[in-house]
Amino acid sequence: MSTPYAKLPGWVEYGLIPLVNLVVAFAVAGLVVLLVGESPLEAAYHMVNGAFGRGEYIGFTLYYATTFIFTGLAVAVAFHAGLFNIGGEGQAYVAGIGVALACLWLDRFMPWYVVFPVAILGASLFGAAWAFLPGWFQAKRGSHIVITTIMFNFIAASLMNYMLNRVLKPLGSMSLETRTFEAGGQLPRLDWLMSIFGLSVGTAPFNVTFLLALAASFGVWVLIWRTKLGYEMRTMGHSPSAARYAGIKEARIIVITMMISGALAGMMALNPIMGETYRMQLDFVQGAGFVGIAVALMGRSHPAGIIPAAILFGVLYQGGAEIAFEMPSISRDMIVIIQGLVILFAGALEHMFRPAITRAVLAFSGRGRTQAAAKGA
């Protein structure tokens, strides 16, 4: 009996419970704000206003969300096969090389719509390659992927330091970044999309990578629930012994899954490099790989959950930056605490309120027992 307690209707399972978790997370975050002597209401106002107040702010929110969709999908895909890929950070970072090479090579004489597909390919290849090794080590040598992917994050950081210092930095430049790309390496903003809603993106780097993220979400859904490979991945994720019985080759699935996961994480690199800064800078990933873990957790590893979860984290990033800007006594670190609380309540403690909500729902929906009055024992 996997779920001994009553099965809940969909709107409770996927709507009410996450909402309650979120409200509690924000309530506790409010207490923290109160503790440093600031008004939680004011902070909440800046958070919401900073994320949605203007077209430009919405653009920033969705820009961050784009990044998190990719890293969230990456974690989710691995999760379905029972693998915990903590290496999204490193995979995205290394994938930057693929994007940068494509741009540096083609940006002067090709339009963006030619460079973009090449860059997507480059990002996927480099991301997949960086995930291949941990996958292969687990498949062949049994080295645990959680450990190896963490190690590969560190190796990626050193490697990128070297690459930017010695290889990709233009001669004579002082800063650790590639040269700025020409028009071919600059992705168009999604002004037209925003203007449908009567908004303007302003300076927000909200770009076509967002559409790629939506396409990738659909692709992941097809992969997991509609292909043979996805079927094999899920079988392995749920029951390795059943997978062996079915003749599913564990080593092969581990390696392929990790490569797909790495490729998805890698595509994240397109967003900041081609969509915002038009060059590859040191540390451009900025923890997005780790946020992906929280996004996948909250989104229950389903694209339909990952997209809203990624947007929520976009709100936290963009609105959080606004709070830090408007309320000087609340530092960036406080924002990280608030984000941590959301992860805590929506991810790790997601079942905390389930029993109480279950009872309440059963009582309200009139399915309660007739002898509720008889309180024995």
């Binding site: 009996m1 996997s2 001994p4 307690y5 009553a6 099965k7 097809v222 509609r226 292909t227 043979k228 079927y231 094999e232 899920r234 079988t235 749920h238 029951s239 012994s241 059943a242 062996r244 019985y245 079915a246 003749g247 599913i248 009872r359 059963l362 399915r367 027992r369 007739t370 002898q371 509720a372 008889a374 309180k375 024995g376 024992a377």
Partner: protein
Amino acid sequence: MDELAIELKGIDKSFGLVHANKDINLKVRKGTIHGIIGENGAGKSTLMSILYGFYQADRGEILVDGRAIDIRDPNTAITAGIGMVHQHFMLVENFTVLENVMLGAEESWILNAGISRARAELKRLEKEYALDVNPDAVIEELPVGLQQRVEILKALYRRADILILDEPTGVLTPAEADHLFRILEQLKAQGKTIILITHKLREIMAITDEVSVMRRGEMVATRETAKTSVEELAELMVGRRVLLRVEKGEAHPGEVKLSVKNLTVRDSRGVTMVDDVSFDLHAGEIVGIAGVAGNGQSELLEAISGIRRAVSGKVHLGGEAIDVTGHADPAELRWRGLAHVPEDRHHVGLVLKFEESENAILGYHDDPKYRKGFVLDIDAIRADAEANIQKYDIRPPNARLKTANFSGGNQQKIVLAREMERDPDVLIIGQPTRGVDVGAIEFIHKRIIEMRDQGKAVLLVSVELDEIRALSDRILVMFAGRVVGERKPDASEGDLGLLMAGVEGPKEAAE
């Protein structure tokens, strides 16, 4: 007349469209053993889960010792003196017996005082009910029979007066089952009330005082055990007459379909589980492997079907070698005509979190007919799944239901349908009727014999000696990894029993 320990009035429960319990009334007298029988999916486990607070009834009333009680969770049930031994044990594998018994009933934050008190209490219980288990043994090192005893101790430690056992003998050897029944008799003698769910009518006749029959969610009858018969009960359960013993004609063995030579298999710790086993399996015959559980039968099946690597030996399928010591591939063997119904349906034969239709293709998901371009053809998959559901009468007939939500016997039918409907040349089948009701046993046995009569080779492993004797054309007995004898199906139970216990029988081979 006597006092009632439990009275259920108008219990009703639905899971979505499945009406699992329909207006159930049940009276269980104090100090008796009350059997509950019924087809797979009749709603027995659901009813007991309601009594134990795992599920909440939609309607109805529960009276314990004459008092109405609102049982909202297992804790209320425990407080009311109800204990339950689940079909799948709920023990912490790497805790000791004592720790498991105390878990959740520690009484205080400081463990030490509680531990010595618990130890004393455990001693008393063991003496009183002949439930001897070493309190310091670690659970995972105990055989299932003893693990089950720990579950009973757990309930008694929580002062249960009413004990519910859901299919307790499914996993036990005959000797272990006998011992369990002695314990139950003892408990009854001490005034405890016992509710026993089982599919084995023999057990019902042997030990219960009264028996209630469920069918399709309804309570259809309650009988005094002394005044009923196996035949009547089977008929009440299924709603028609049931053949309790399969009829089968002569076997007409053909060519060798599967040949096993000097097969040796070790487990992960290096213990030899299958020791130099050789035999041939012909087309059109059923070879049964008898033996007490744990004597290498499981490992033998796993090695032949390519799941577990053998140390040495040769296996040929239809004349061609299977690379059992190297990279035998279960998927490839399926295409070569080997179907395998594994013993452990929960961990091996099914993915419980999948929809029924997804399990209906497990292992055959490579079949091109389930592919449409580069995606899976969900319609084709569901159509096949639904055909199997019809043909094997799997209930509820819903290919989209999560497999975990099917009752045990119906889960077994999902696996059988998948493996049998592929028209394999060789069918190897472990514990085909574990946890399956009499009506379904009849059906499954008929299908197995039909397969034989169509010229398939069937290798059958079962811990049910009756089943082995009823189906097999030849019986091999395994003991400590070796085949210690071969018998005709008409060999006496005593003769087979001696072989199974490792005592060489008087005659060597029956051939």
